[in-house]
């Protein structure tokens, strides 16, 4: 793994996601086919997947996927982990030898339960895990946590999406929610950590675009304890979602409107109540606004959300078929795995597409969803 200290990934990319709202398991082979169908959108320098429901044997443990430069980094990280977590199980992430994949870092996964500090009355488990992730990424040289949620996992690296899929044996996993990404990096080619998805807890984000407001977003997040160590703009999306939805408890749809705000010309014409709300969103969360071109998929244990930037500078298509919802950069990637969807549409700029699991009860925060 090569870590460039001052480099940021700028990329034109392709993304794809599938969710079964009834939690029917979808074989990994399906998502590989979909993302591979957009070969034009990547250049073989990065691809990744995230699957939800892939660890039924460890549903309540935080699954840490960590890449290491060397054994020294592994030793140091494992010592750090053992001080803070009960390690329920750990192993090397199973991989295959693939011709197109070279120079892979050491890849390990750990199923962890936090050791609750004895006298901390306001202990928040997620914050504890988040801090551990930030600490490892920031302080331990050559170690990078690329997945840290429950019953989910991210797999990513340098290569074409089909090679990465084969390498990580994605075809052997079954998930009820998949997201995938193929990358066309222009800045940090060759770094495994630079591939998507970017994750924190069970949030995973795949992204096509470039965040022109990165500097503003990064410094805003730093006020809340996030450390943007990966020099990739997508990282801020995962952290912003975590801050707004998990910590500030904003309704998911409202959080999406903070990330891709409506324009003042539209807000000024809204009915009083709504205008007050949207004005406040822009006043308070102005530094969370993602400016610049993007299409993103945000997945978590509750569902999948797709979002476009406020003037739709990147392609983004959604489709529905029975209990499944598809979101991708191109319709072709959807048709490849679902030839005749019930409905296909191109969501409007800044308008989130939200698909939740039928059994997901997130309270009113997730009350509004679209499909």
């Amino acid at each position: 793994m090569m870590v460039l200290t001052r480099s940021r990934e700028l990329s034109g990319c392709g993304l794809s996601g599938i969710i079964s709202r009834k939690k029917n398991l979808i074989p990994g082979e399906v998502i590989i086919r979909s993302i591979t169908h957009m070969r034009e959108r990547g250049n073989g320098l990065g691809a990744g997947y995230a699957g939800y429901g892939i660890y039924p044997d460890f549903p309540d443990e935080y699954a840490f996927h960590i890449m290491y430069d060397d054994e020294l980094a592994r030793k140091e990280t494992e010592e750090y982990i053992k001080q803070r977590f009960h390690v329920i199980h750990y192993e090397e992430i199973p991989t295959r030898k693939v011709k197109g994949i070279q120079d892979s870092p050491l890849l390990w996964r750990y199923f962890l339960r936090p050791i609750e500090p004895p006298d901390e009355s306001d202990f928040v488990e997620e914050d504890y895990v988040m801090k551990a992730v930030m600490d490892i990424n920031d302080k331990i040289r050559g170690a990078y946590v690329f997945s840290s949620g429950k019953n989910m996992g991210a797999f990513k690296g340098v290569g074409e999406p089909d090679d990465i899929g084969e390498f990580y044996r994605i075809d052997e996993y079954q998930a009820y929610l998949w997201v995938a990404h193929t990358r066309f990096p222009t800045n940090t080619p060759g770094w495994w950590g630079g591939a998507h998805p970017f994750t924190l807890l069970d949030w995973a984000v795949v992204h096509n675009g470039e965040i022109s407001s990165y500097g503003t977003n990064k410094r805003y997040l730093e006020m809340f304890g996030y450390k943007c160590t990966l020099r990739t703009d997508t990282e801020v999306v995962a952290y912003l979602i975590d801050l707004l939805v998990r910590r500030h408890k904003l309704p998911l749809r409202i959080a999406a409107y903070a990330l891709a705000s409506p324009f003042w010309k539209d807000i000024d014409r809204m009915p009083e109540n709504q205008r007050r709300l949207f004005t406040a969103i822009r006043m308070v969360y102005g530094s969370a606004l993602l400016n610049g071109p993007f299409a993103i998929l945000v997945s978590w244990n509750g569902g999948l959300m797709g979002l476009n930037d406020r003037i739709k500078l990147r392609p983004f298509v959604a489709a529905v078929k029975d209990d499944k919802v598809y979101m991708a950069s191109e319709e072709a990637a959807i048709r490849e795995i679902c030839p005749s969807p019930d409905r296909v549409w191109a969501p409007k700029a800044g308008d989130p597409v939200i698909a939740l699991f039928e059994d997901f009860d997130g309270g009113t925060q997730f009350k509004e969803h679209q499909v």
Binding site: S7, R8, S212, S213, V284, G286, G292
Partner: protein
Amino acid sequence: MLYKSLSSFPVFEVERDYDKCIVCGCCVQQCTFDATYYLPYAKKVITDEHKCVGCKRCEAMCPTGAIKVRAVTNEFKHNAYWDARTIRDIYKQADQGGVILTGGGNDRRFRVYWDHLLIDACQVTNPSIDPLREPMELRTFLGRKPDALEVEYNEKGEPELKTKIAPNLVAEIPVIFAPMSYGALNLNMHKAMAAAADAMGTYWNTGEGSLHRDLYKYGHCTIVQVASGRFGVSAEYLKVAAAAEIKIGQGAKPGIGGHLPGEKVDEEISKTRMIPVGTDALSPAPHHDIYSIEDLRQLIYAIKEATNYEKPVSVKIAAVHNVAAIASGIARAGADIIVLDGFRGGTGASPAIVRDYVGIPVEIAVAVVDQRLREEGIRNWVSIIAAGGIRNSADVIKAIALGADAVYIGTSALLAVGCTLCHKCYTGRCAWGITTNDPHIAKRLNPDIAAERLINLLKGWAHEMKEMLGLMGINAIESLKGNRLRLRAIGLTKEEMDILGVLPAGEGI
């Protein structure tokens, strides 16, 4: 010993082309410093160069273009250390034994950090945005913001805001007219700034000389100042305004109070400031009820009480060495807005020695204050206004990228209506009718025309700012705020770059 008076060496020379001069007397009438007069026996207009201040009023008004006012550059033998101004100041003080006064802003040769910062643009990987075809938003809110919002669904299933938001100013362009008092400026200039701010959806600031009754109708776009002299501060004055500002210090003269010479205090100013006609209005150096941060807190809350917590309260300080810690204290004392006034900021009257050598640049002050407030997690509590030497729209963009929310413009606004930076504001004889209260000269500043020029200036800057946001691939000003990654430094030391929080040109993101 040779008696050497200051007037032995004029600073300006006035060249008159007698072939072009029609002896109309216009220059004689226009010169407010009695430097130009008609010589009847020679039938000629001539200039007493010793009295010329270089304001160029005669040059601008001469109908035949016969006059050229030029600075004398070779009056003494060249000396890189003892320059002409230094020599002349010593003569002047040896003559009179006083403090040398000046107006305007610091004109000394210190590093201008704005000119060492370059702005980023998009190429290929993220598209630039065309402001002529896409919306481009400059709307800015100034005041306290909560760290998070609370949103609940009502019985109709609609999301509703539960959080009560503190009062904020809403500016359609993040450029506000700087505090310049009535008295230092005449009423025409105040009228022009008020009308221009109103038309552009932004604000103007009264400065410490209170607000003339005729301008109460502009209260909604007026920030009223409460300074150590407390001139004309009344409940009504506070209530009519959009926001109140406690002036602790001024970038041009940190640590000392305002000076308005008695010559400038006429009937109207006396009524507005609530002081007798002809008295010097000298504000004390500190507020005599603020000797500590807890005292400041009391005044902030006294004003909030007086205005029913309906208006943001701003605190303006001069940018000094410990500005970051001071600003943090002010934020914690309850201020909603902090104004950082850099050492390039102007003044109506100040000891030259203070104007020239006290304070620090606003670029640095904004950078360190923004960083400090972020480190303390209280950046949302206050808005930062950068003041003191903002010259153009690029300075505004850079100030916001460094961490400001908005800027004040004073000198730029004066230039827009004709000021030529002769720095004689304190004399009350401004030939351009801006800083004089002589009713005859003040007529030279038509408030309607001046307002139009100020509006033009703001419109021009707004266009340019939109262009610059667009080329950065940003369509809302909030995405520029504190976005130092979109700036690069050229020709700065490592320490300077660290303090400003910017990378050197050539280093990618």
